[in-house]
């Protein structure tokens, strides 16, 4: 970076050097970030792909046998894979719409005028800032079968007759975690949608109400089209995020009871962590990534447009 001291436009030789420098400088400024990400992100990713083509179990680290696509063939005959896939789909199609709807309702409320609006807006985002481990701990306490407040409340109101071990029951465990994740993620939607709402010109509503449009019609014809772009982006982003997120499940149930809260990323992680089978775990991670790729590409295309 010593060439910086060369003043631009000073004689023909240094002028040429300056011109060269002007071309190289943007890349020189970029290179540290790009090189480091290559080293710590893209190189490891290629390694995952490489490991997935091998039989690689960590307690026999000497054995690194090429097996080609065998791991991938095994995946399709693996019952746990199909169970995890089903849970992953359930997990996404319930959590994301629930987050979106609750977020939309919250955003519409926050867009109204009321005296404590700034306070409400600050408090609503708190779940977003909490560590997922703490979220998992907190909700495990809420769901606790003996002393949890959820059972306590439902028993008192009379909805339940005996307390339910929410996280230990295979029928309820996944849904209990889905509620937790909805809680964690809806503020993100609320904040994004609120920003979209505030970008709709007030004059549209004034004109509409002069024409006698009911609030419902205003919502349908002005508000919804106005936020559709933001909403779609948020849904894509959230789908990716929810699909990937496994730390809350890992802490709350570790995938159990049985396989009842296994999702694909969690399965891949557990395969490597508890069975130390990095070959098969990598193949699972690759398969899951490829499945998610469609949504990722869609999101990237939208973002690329926004960048221009």
């Amino acid at each position: 970076m010593t060439t910086t001291s060369v003043p631009e436009q000073e004689g023909p030789t240094s002028g040429r050097r300056a011109a060269l420098w002007r071309q190289v400088m943007p890349l020189a400024l970029l290179s540290p970030a790009v090189l480091v990400t290559l080293a710590i992100v893209f190189f490891p990713m290629i390694q995952t792909a490489w490991m997935s083509l091998h039989n690689y179990v960590l307690f026999r680290p000497k054995n690194f046998d090429w097996v080609g696509l065998q791991n991938y063939f095994n995946i399709f005959q693996d019952e746990v894979f199909w169970i995890s896939l089903r849970h992953t789909i359930l997990w996404i199609v319930i959590t994301v719409p629930a987050q979106a709807l609750l977020g939309l309702a919250t955003a519409l409320l926050l867009n109204q005028k009321f005296p404590w609006r700034p306070l409400a807006r600050a408090l609503i985002i708190i779940p977003w800032a909490l560590p997922s481990v703490v979220i998992a701990l907190m909700w495990a306490w809420v769901y606790d079968s003996n002393y949890g407040i959820l059972n306590d409340l439902l028993l008192r109101v009379g909805i339940l007759e005996t307390s339910i071990p929410w996280l230990a029951n295979p029928d309820t465990a996944l849904y209990a975690i889905i509620l937790t994740l909805t809680w964690q993620g809806f503020p993100f939607f609320a904040v994004m949608i609120l920003a979209g709402l505030q970008s709709i010109p007030q004059s549209y509503y004034e004109a509409a109400s002069l024409d006698g449009a009911t609030p419902w019609r205003q919502f349908w014809h002005i508000t919804l089209p106005g936020i559709s772009g933001v909403l779609f982006t948020a849904i894509l982003l959230r789908t990716i995020w929810v699909a990937n997120s496994m730390d809350v499940i890992f802490v709350m149930t570790g995938g159990g009871p049985g396989y009842s809260t296994y999702t694909l990323p969690l399965y891949s992680f557990l395969e490597a962590r508890t069975n130390l089978d990095f070959g098969y775990g990598s193949a699972l991670a690759m398969t899951f990534t490829l499945m998610l790729l469609g949504i990722v590409v869609l999101y990237l295309k939208r973002s690329a447009k926004a960048v221009q």
Partner: protein, 277 residues
């Protein structure tokens, strides 16, 4: 909205009350955890948590027996390290993205966005193998590197959008006055970016502080960040919910406080990209 003069009662029914309900859902579990942590362990299962006679005993035990202070120090080192790495690498890159046109600019910019879309498992397995080969398992460095995989791309995007908001004419004016490009960047643009740099740094700090799976996989006996410590406690002190919830409150505190301080600026930066689309 344009309904003229709404009566206060109507506003309370349609806005204030639903908002309160949503806030109760949002804050309820957190407040319940707080209340539990302030209840003596002996009373927890007999009478349940209550707002009367709150005690600090759970917190005292937390720092005396569990050794939470060391875990917080580990988290602090990792988070600060990640902030330093993330910011130093990304600021010049962001300036370049914002001010120059060059070939593959868009591809390069998009690849930073792409990184954050990949599942963590895709990185966590090879990073574990890599750190093991390098003998870096259970060190702060391993965790800083792992967290940087998240921090660098995020920070590049945040800073690029921030610098985009600073008029190019400022660089040009500085250069007319005899500054070189790099001097213009250092002396004019960077000081103007300070608020953006601080907000981005705080966000990286929060993310690194809250991170769990890398910490679990790449940490160990020597380096055990607070999130792993909380999770380990869940296993060890299974039914001692007073102690556990105290750990949860303490573990979440730094991130929560920081977040509330900068949330306005941060939320603006995060949503900007989406609103444009």
């Amino acid at each position: 909205m344009a309904l003229g003069r709404k009566s206060t009662l109507r506003r309370v029914l349609t806005v204030d009350l639903p908002m309160l309900a949503i806030l109760a859902f949002t804050l309820g579990p957190y407040l319940w955890m707080l209340l539990t942590s302030l209840t003596a362990e002996s009373e927890l299962f007999t009478r349940g948590p209550s707002v009367f006679d709150l005690v600090w005993s759970n917190y005292e035990r937390l720092f005396a027996n569990v050794g939470f202070a060391r875990n917080m120090l580990d988290s602090l080192i990792v988070a600060v390290g990640t902030v330093v790495v993330g910011l130093t690498l990304s600021v010049t890159a962001a300036y370049s993205f914002s001010r120059f046109d060059f070939r593959f600019k868009k591809v390069l910019l998009m690849q930073f966005l792409l990184i954050n879309m990949f599942p963590l498992v895709l990185l966590i397995l090879p990073l574990f193998v890599l750190m093991r080969q390098l003998g870096l398992l259970d060190t702060h460095l391993a965790l800083i590197v792992a967290n940087s995989t998240i921090a660098i791309p995020f920070s590049v995007w945040m800073m690029t959008s921030y610098i985009n908001g600073i008029p190019k004419s400022l660089d040009e004016a500085a250069m007319t006055d005899g500054c070189s490009r790099l001097q213009a960047m250092r002396k004019v643009i960077l000081p103007l970016c300070a608020p953006g740099i601080i907000a981005t740094g705080i966000y990286i700090f929060i993310t690194a502080w809250n991170e769990y799976l890398y910490a679990l996989t790449l940490g160990g006996q020597n380096v055990r960040p607070i999130t792993v410590a909380v999770q380990t406690m869940i296993g060890e002190y299974q039914v001692q919910w007073g102690l556990l919830t105290a750990g949860g409150i303490v573990g979440a505190l730094p991130a929560t406080v920081l977040f509330l301080i900068v949330q306005r600026r941060l939320v603006g930066g995060l949503t900007q990209g989406a609103v444009k689309g």
